[in-house]
């Protein structure tokens, strides 16, 4: 159906109703915390994420290498990782150190023509390392904007997802996160709260359905 025709039907229907007219000016109730970082740590933990708090980039590098080495331990082959570009600006030397821990970086770009093959290749990665644009204290979420140099696969197709989170990215609420984010920057955003989960079988909580089984957040003070 043409848009005009479709909207015409809606308009005609609205003429016959007695619904209230507009959205009132009252804002949504505000959400704030005395210590947003402390709240974030608790909420992310409750959501099932593993939180590691470190002081400065050096310590962050050490933790990431430790996590990567633990994850690589006992793994036969397939020690590939995908990562966002530019993370070495937060933690210098990051990519080399992870490579030294036994991981091979996999190029995550997917071509239009070679799409199937590229996805097969990317799906071999079992470790993903990303940053986060903003994090939400109320729920323990990380918000990721995907775009150039920031493949979605890094937080999605892997078994273990590591997020580098500088402490100043934490805001109180989802409302605040959505308001300060420049949405025009990317076509796809995701707020991730804990690892992938389901309760579809007898409401029993099971982690790691289609997305990562483990979500590690390295909180850098």
């Amino acid at each position: 159906m043409e848009r005009d025709q479709f909207l015409g039907r809606v308009r005609a229907a609205l003429r016959g109703t007695r619904l209230p007219e507009t959205i009132g000016p009252d804002p949504a109730p505000p959400i704030s915390f005395g210590d947003p970082v402390a709240r974030y740590v608790v909420a992310a933990g409750e959501a099932g994420a593993e939180i590691v708090q470190v002081e400065g980039p050096e310590a962050a590098r050490g933790e990431i290498v430790r996590i990567a080495a633990d994850e690589a331990f006992g793994r036969s082959g397939q020690a590939g990782f995908v990562a966002w570009d530019g993370l070495d600006a937060i933690v210098p030397g990051l990519y080399d150190d992870v490579a030294e821990a036994g991981w091979e970086r996999i190029e995550a770009s997917v071509g239009t023509e070679s799409r199937l093959d590229d996805h097969q290749r990317v799906a071999n990665a079992s470790l993903g390392i990303t940053g986060a644009d903003v994090a939400i204290a109320a729920t323990g979420s990380v918000v990721l904007g995907h775009g150039s140099g920031r493949p979605r696969a890094a937080s999605l197709l892997v078994e273990h997802h590591i997020v580098l989170l500088p402490i100043d990215r934490i805001v109180a609420s989802l409302q605040e996160a959505l308001e300060i984010t420049d949405w025009s920057m990317a076509s796809n955003w995701v707020a991730i709260t804990g690892p992938s989960r389901t309760g579809d079988i007898e409401s029993i909580l099971t982690l790691g359905v289609h997305g990562p089984r483990t979500l590690s957040i390295v909180l850098i003070r």
Binding site: I23, G24, A108, T112, I136, D200, E202, G211, P212
Partner: protein, 461 residues
């Protein structure tokens, strides 16, 4: 067509699985805990209702703005007047693009329009990827709940189903069963040409859509395949991003007791030049299919619904029946309003009639829809259209109650007859039309004294 009564009797004859009551109860307890732990919950619900009401009252303008904005960000927008138009558009697209396999995110509106069958008829293998929906699809059934489609099956049934349909070894461990589904579905994600999702909310001022899943399948379906088709009921809009935040706050808590659903995606068009991954095309299919008729009706408020399923979880009728006897993809208290308003009261008048009007649904509704009043309104309409025998009965009752002397005489006489008819204090089988009442339940024997007589006597004392 079968009646609600016959479907209920059939369900009772087979035995309604206890997992429905347990699952619904567990979900309502988690919702209550999440609401109690969130001091802003009640104010947030007030705000959510205001947002939904204002959006629906100006839906024409918001739809217009939404479509413009979505097109600007590179999406293709199609307006579907009914289910057939929506199906045909998607099937034609699949043919044109030579799609052989589609992966799907669980969505009520795609169930409503019967998309899977249409794609199957066109030779497109369509795979449900939400674990519960995948189980239901393997079993050849329809979802029994908005949010927990396989709520009616226990782990042992699912284990047998996987052995039977997937050829795996028997395990009834939920973690292992989930692992089996993950391994079965992963290659299908990677080879599907089309990903199909619903839309939790469309944001009118920038044309983006929000999609929530706990499993991560939503993000997979909208990332890996080269075409993303998002199907949206036309009422699922909010004006701005701030409004979206409010809706997401109440949706997650009401649906599953979480502060936020594990993966809350906001999609704003297909992938752009320079982006490493994502779909090359995004098609938005906006569906009316009876909604504009609902909008013009006295139950327009039902369009505020955000499909969280909270009212199903607390409903005594739903807990005893599950979703299937409702006979439509929309079950439970909201379903009893949505189904007749979309598909006609004539055929579905028995859904609103089957409710105790206890009001538990209205208490938990995140957008405070007054569901009991809407049920009563639909009952009123169906009585207006009901056969003369019923309206004659109502007229007789009215004639009786407006004539006090006659009323006293008749109630005394009926009481006497009733006691005569009783055995051990109960009337087990009533004659004639009254028999339909005692078919399912016994009636206590009438008191020895009518209320009127008792009142006169005791007031005097």
């Amino acid at each position: 067509m079968t009646t609600f009564r016959s479907r209920i009797q059939e369900a009772f004859a087979e035995g309604v699985p206890i997992s429905i009551d347990l699952g619904a109860r567990g979900r309502s307890e988690r919702r209550a805990a999440a609401a109690a732990a969130f001091p802003q919950m009640e104010a947030m619900r007030d705000r959510a209702r205001v947002i939904r009401a204002g959006t629906i009252a100006n839906l024409d303008d918001y739809l217009d703005a939404f479509a413009d904005a979505a097109q600007r960000s590179g999406s293709t927008v199609f307006f579907a007047a009914d289910a057939a138009e929506a199906r045909n558009y998607i099937v034609d697209l699949a043919r044109r693009e030579q799609v052989t396999r589609a992966v799907k995110v669980k969505s009520m509106v795609t169930e409503e329009i019967g998309l899977n069958a249409a794609l199957a008829a066109a030779g497109v293998e369509t795979v449900e990827t939400d674990l519960g929906e995948f189980i239901v699809q393997l079993a050849g059934e329809t979802p029994a709940h908005f949010v927990a489609p396989a709520i009616h099956m226990d782990r042992y049934q699912i284990a047998e189903l996987f052995v039977d349909k997937l050829g795996v070894g028997y395990t009834d461990d939920p973690v292992e069963l989930t692992g089996i589904a993950r391994r079965h579905l992963r290659p299908r994600f990677l080879t599907a040409e089309m990903g199909i999702s619903g839309v939790n909310f469309g944001v009118a001022d920038d044309g983006s859509i929000a999609l929530v899943t706990n499993e991560g399948n939503g993000l997979l379906c909208t990332t890996v395949p080269r075409i993303h088709v998002a199907v949206m009921g036309m009422e699922r809009l909010v004006p701005t991003r701030s409004d979206l935040a409010v809706m997401l706050e109440v949706l997650a808590r009401s649906a599953s007791g979480q502060g936020l659903t594990s993966y809350t995606s906001i999609v704003n068009g297909p992938r752009r030049p320079g982006e490493p991954d994502g779909p090359d095309q995004l098609h938005l299919v906006i569906v009316d299919n009876g909604r504009s008729a609902t909008l013009g009706s006295t139950v327009a408020e039902i369009l505020y619904c955000i499909r969280c399923g909270a009212c199903l979880n607390v409903c005594p009728v739903y807990r005893h029946l599950g979703g299937h006897p409702y006979g439509s993809v929309y079950a439970g208290p909201v379903g009893a309003v949505i189904t007749p308003s979309l598909y006609g009261l004539e055929e579905w008048h028995d859904l609103p009639a089957t409710s105790s009007l206890c009001g538990a649904c209205a208490e938990v509704c995140p957008v405070r829809i007054d569901i009991p009043s809407l049920l009563v309104e639909l009952r009123r309409q169906s009585v207006d259209r009901s056969p003369p025998s019923i309206s004659a009965g109502v007229r007789l009752f009215a004639a009786l109650t407006t004539r006090p002397r006659l009323y006293r005489f008749v109630t005394r006489a009926l009481g006497w007859l009733g006691r005569l008819w009783s055995r051990d204090g109960w009337m087990r089988r009533m004659p004639l039309v009254l028999g339909s009442w005692t078919r399912d339940r016994d009636l206590p024997s009438p008191a020895a004294e009518t209320f009127n007589d008792w009142w006169r006597r005791s007031r005097g004392a």
